[in-house]
Every structure is written in structure tokens, then in C-alpha cells.
Amino acid sequence: MRTILFILRKEFLQIFRNKTMLPMIFLLPVIQLLILANAATFEMKNIRTCIVDMDNSTASRELISKFKGSPFYTIVDYSFNYSDAEESIREGVSDLIIEIPTGFERDLHIDKTAQLGLVADAINSTTASLAYAYSSAIIKDYNLEIVTKVIGKEVKQPIDVRYSYWYNPELDYITYMVPGILVLLVSMIGIFLSSMNVVREKEIGTIEQLNVTPIKKYQFIAGKLLPFWIIAMFELAFGLVIAKMFFSIPIVGSLGLIFGIAAIYMVVVLSLGLIVSTISDTMQQSMFVSFFFMIIFILMSGLFTAIESMPLWAQKINIINPIAYFIKIIRMVMLKGSGFQDVLQPFLALVVYSIVALSFAVWRYRKVA
């Protein structure tokens, strides 16, 4: 035990003496959390719309004013020529064209059907389909309005669909993203510190000095893991405080549960980092390997895109993705107030994972050079 304490002391001395690293370890995650939480939104508040009104009638103006009144649209341009409007999409000035052809009002009154064009820049298919859904809802509303005017009584839809959004009634993205980003930052710091650690000693040559001491393998690994574990847990706590104070993210579930699971999760992450570190010969190598896995883990973790919509084989890959488990758990506990029973399955997965990874790290570390 005493031996472990000495290694701990050495590691902390090294961390706190490094004047470039220290602010980065503690400040950057905070800044990142503040910035990135605000950036990650699919919410369309600002569909830049170009209107081509060739009809210029009462009906077309009424319809346009509906779009103007909606908080989702910003009208950037009026044009009387469709190809000008298409040019504005090409130049990236607008995202959507609403084209009302000549004779729109006449068709509406005489033929009882009229057409209009919606043209969207679909390079980002998600935003394009959202823009389309919003627009067709507005057009449908307007349609019902005219029908009501013509018939003189309100038209009843036979099926009345009522929506309610649980756990996040305002559909606030920040609430959704912050727990995930928090996990991401803690994991990145953890994997970075641990994967660079042993290999750094190798490269500088100090590993030899450690190898000739009577330190046991498990003591060595424990001494390497614990400091980073403490830093990571501290950052998690710090991040949660920021989430609560700046973003007023609800923490519905139990804090104890979050930290308990985080404790195990961090063992997984740090052991993975140490494995990478003991396998590699140079820091460049270890950095490359950990980067490779981090990027895959992050992008597959469900932080940005829903896991359910991935193909089955990709979901299978996620079995070895610790970030996916923890993001799932922290979102469930923080936002929905799920209890231990509800997260039991991912929790057990993490426990098994931590045991496997930790024993592998101990086994793989060789005291011979």
C-alpha cells in the first residue's frame, strides 16, 4: 500500500509541475463544454429562405406572410426569377426556395388545386427533411384556412393527433447534449493521460529505473491509474456543476448512481489507455492508436447520431464501445431519472469490461525492457 502511495506522489508531482499541461487539463474541458453544448443543435431556427413569387396575388402573399410569421424562417431574398433563386442556393446564401408559380391563385379558385415548389439544399439531408416537414405543415395549415373560408365552417380532421414530449418538453438540445459531451471530455482526458504515460517513461528512459525497483506489477498499474482516476472524477464533478449552473440541466436521477458508475467507467477507459501505452514503443504510435479508437468510439457512441438507426453490425461493434454504454447510462439517469434497476444491463457490461481491461493491462505490462 505504501509503495502505491509513493508512486501516486510521483505521478501527482509530475502532473502539477507541468505548467503547459495543467491549465489544459482543467480549463480546456470547461471552455469546450460551454462552447460545444451550444453548437450541437439540429434545431432549425433559421432556415434561410428565398421566395420566388411569380403570382403576386392575394393568396400568394397570404401564404408568404405565414412563412414570415414562423420563427423558423428567415427570408433572405425575394426574387422574380427561379434561376436567380437557384443561384443563391449554389452560392450557399439560402437553404430553401419557395416558388409560387404564375396562376397560383387562379388555379386555387378555378381548378381547386394549385401547385407550388419547395426546393431545398439537401447536402445535409437531416436539415433538409426538417425544413421540408416544417414547410409542409405551414402549407397544410394555410390550406385548411382557405377551405374553412370557402365552406364557411371549420373542417374537422377525423383523427386528432396530440403530441407530448416527455423528459424534455421544450425539445432543448442542450439538455440532451451536455451529459454526452461531459462523458466525452472526461474520457478524452482520461485516455490521453493514461495512454501517453507509460510510453513516455519508455521514451525518456525512466521506465528502467521503475523496473529495477521492487514495485509489483499490480502496484505499478494501480499507481499509474489512480492519479488519473482522481483527476477524471474531479472533472466529472466539476462538469456537472457547470452543467447545473450554466445550462440548468436537470439532474433527475441520483448523483450517487452517476458517480458510482463513472468510477467503474473510468477504470475501463484508463485501463484501455494503459494497454495502448504498454504496447506502443513511441508516444507518436500510442497517440495514433488511441486517436483511432477514440474517434470511432465517439462517432459510434450515439452522441451525435442515434444508435438505433445504425445497421445491426454497427450496433454489434458498440458492444466493445465503453463510451456508448456510459453515454446511454448518464442520459438515462440525468434526464429520465432511471434507477439502478433500469441501467443494470449496461452497468454489468461496464463491470465485466473493467475487469477484463484491467487484468489485461496488468498482464501485458512487463518489467523487462
Binding site: 489544459m24 434545431e43 409542409s136 403530441y163
Partner: protein, 346 residues
């Protein structure tokens, strides 16, 4: 080997696994009426391909439970006497509860349901069709099949080029400093500019061939076309690689260890590049301070350019502003690092 393996694996993974459209969302149905019409509508919803029925709930209490255990995205509730009410009153109601802790999915699924119910209604009212109808005609420009890879291929190129160029150079220079071999280079008769050129050229070649590998893969595996001029596209890739390299040199001139170089690249480059460049999240939707901040992210400008050339087939005439910005950034970082590059050790 690893250098080429990584981007290929990543692109394949992203191209296949990362989609923003949602398929097979797990839902539960609570059908209080269990009549002909509610069954028909359930059938319609489940056959759409967007939803998979996980369980039929029996009472309101089990709703909360099925949300909390985490796997259900939506619960659809039919009120009692659904069909009878439609016949008698002309209207009956459905309740759709969404798990909005993931607002994106909730919103998209809600749109799907609205669409399906709308179609079902139109079928119901075939005889009593709306007397006046506005039919929107839709055109999805540049991506009529609405594929997510159109967004990911340019995005992955941008991120990989930046990472490889900026991170690798910054680390390799920091490594020379740390190992003490920088001294050897400094006492040699080489000029600083020669040292730097020698250091970055291998990475230029590496990054450039990677860009080509990704483009070829995107074209053959995912049918992502290069609609504009290929020469222009390659030209921009080189410009961007040079920019990333100068960024890398700049980083290495302010740090003294590989560890710090890596931490800066990872935290100050990787995340902002993924999130503030418009790669996944549109910049227009961000609050204005972030929109303003995104202007200093090199990847933002490159993504505009590469999407423009690849997918919209536009040329330098329209992109002159972005091109100018990229060049100014190169000049800025090179100027700064030449100023900071010291021939003497401290």
C-alpha cells in the same frame, strides 16, 4: 500501413453506420379500443419501416416503466372507442408520447407519425376530399436520395487532413525538441526554412494521397460524385493541407513536449473542428457568438469549398472569398511560426 488503414476504416464505418435518418425505432402501443380502425392504423405505422413494435402495453402505468428502462422511443395511445368516435363525432384522438431526452429523434419520429396518420386520413376521407388543395412539389437539390454520406465524405476528408497534417507535424517537431535531436538539426548548416520544409514535405505527400484514397472510396463505394472540377478540388486539398501543416508548425513552436502538442491538437483542434465547422451541425443554427467564433476555424472554410466543388459544381468565381480566407490563414500561421522559430536553444 496504419496511416492508410485508419481513414479507410473510418470512412467505411461512417458511410455505413452514421445516418441521421431513423429506421426501426422501437415503440410501444397502448390500444384502449382494439377495433378495426385502430388495428389498421397500427398496421400502417408498423409497415412503414420506421417503427418496430416492442410491446403492446395494457395500461397507463406501464408507460413510464417502458420509457425508463430506456429502449422505447415513442408510445402511441389510441383512446377508447376509436372507430366508433370517428363514425359518430367525425373525430377521435391519438396520443403520441415521445421520449424527448433525445430531441432530434423525437422530432423526426413525430414527423413520420404525422405523415403516416395524414395518409391514413386521406384514405378515410377519399369520398369527402378536401375541396381545395395545395400540392407542394419537392426538389431536394444536390442530393435527391437524401444520403447522409454526401455530408460525411467531405467532412471526413476535412477532419483527417487536419488531424494528420497538423497533429503529426506538431508532434514530430516537439519530439525532436524533447529527444534533443533538434540541437543536431540546428547546428547543421541548414536554414530554418529548409528544416521546416524537410519536416513537412513527407506529411504533405501522405495527406494528399489520403485525400485521393478517400475521394476514390467515396466515389466507388458510396456513389458520392465529384461534380465540379477535379483539378480545382485537388488544388483546394493542397491549400488546406498546407494550412493544416502551418497550423501544426505553429503549435509545435509554442509547446515543448509531445504530450502538450497532442493535448492541444486533440482538445483545441479535434472537437471544435468536428462541431464548429458545419460538418455535422449547421452553423446557422448556433447562437451568434459561436457563429462568429466559427470563422476562425479553418475547417469551416474548407468544408464550404469542398462541398461547393464536389457537390454543387461551383468554381473559384463564387468561392473567391473562402479561397482568400484560406490563403490569409496560411500566411498568418507561417508568419507567426517563422517569427517564433528560434535557431538557438534556451
Amino acid at each position: 500501413m496504419i496511416m492508410f488503414g485508419i481513414p479507410v476504416v473510418q470512412l467505411l464505418l461512417f458511410g455505413y453506420a452514421l445516418t441521421n435518418d431513423i429506421k426501426n425505432a422501437p415503440i410501444s402501443i397502448l390500444d384502449h379500443s382494439k377495433d378495426e380502425m385502430s388495428r389498421q392504423l397500427t398496421q400502417k405505422i408498423l409497415s412503414s419501416g420506421y417503427f418496430v413494435l416492442v410491446e403492446n402495453l395494457e395500461d397507463d402505468k406501464s408507460i413510464e416503466l417502458s420509457f425508463k428502462s430506456g429502449n422505447i422511443k415513442q408510445v402511441i395511445i389510441f383512446e377508447q372507442d376509436f372507430a366508433a368516435k370517428i363514425k359518430r363525432d367525425g373525430s377521435a384522438s391519438i396520443q403520441v408520447l415521445s421520449d424527448a431526452s433525445d430531441p432530434n429523434t423525437a422530432r423526426i419520429l413525430t414527423n413520420y407519425i404525422t405523415g403516416i396518420v395524414g395518409n391514413f386520413q386521406n384514405e378515410l376521407m377519399r369520398d369527402t376530399k378536401l375541396p381545395i388543395e395545395i400540392i407542394p412539389e419537392i426538389k431536394m437539390m444536390y442530393n435527391d436520395e437524401m444520403k447522409s454520406v454526401f455530408m460525411f465524405v467531405p467532412g471526413v476528408i476535412t477532419i483527417l487532413l487536419l488531424l494528420i497534417s497538423a497533429m503529426m507535424t506538431s508532434i514530430s517537431i516537439a519530439r525532436e525538441k524533447e529527444m534533443g535531436t533538434m540541437e543536431v538539426l540546428l547546428v547543421s548548416p541548414l536554414r530554418p526554412i529548409q528544416i521546416i520544409l524537410g519536416k513537412v514535405l513527407p506529411y504533405v505527400l501522405l495527406a494528399f494521397s489520403l485525400a485521393i484514397v478517400i475521394l476514390v472510396l467515396g466515389y466507388f463505394v458510396f456513389d458520392v460524385p465529384v461534380r465540379g472540377s477535379l483539378v480545382l478540388l485537388l488544388f483546394y486539398s493542397i491549400v488546406y493541407i498546407v494550412l493544416s501543416l502551418s497550423l501544426g508548425i505553429f503549435i509545435s513552436s509554442i509547446v515543448d513536449s509531445q504530450q502538450s502538442a497532442m493535448l492541444i491538437s486533440m482538445i483545441a483542434l479535434l472537437l471544435p473542428t468536428i462541431m464548429l465547422s458545419g460538418f455535422i451541425f449547421p452553423i446557422e443554427n448556433m447562437p451568434w457568438p459561436l457563429q462568429w467564433f466559427s470563422n476562425i476555424i479553418p475547417a469551416k472554410w474548407f468544408i464550404i469549398v469542398i462541398r461547393g466543388v464536389m457537390l454543387k459544381a461551383i468554381g473559384i468565381g463564387i468561392l473567391w472569398k473562402e479561397t482568400l480566407i484560406l490563403f490569409l490563414m496560411i500566411a498568418f500561421f507561417i508568419g507567426l511560426s517563422v517569427k517564433k522559430f528560434k535557431i538557438r536553444l534556451e
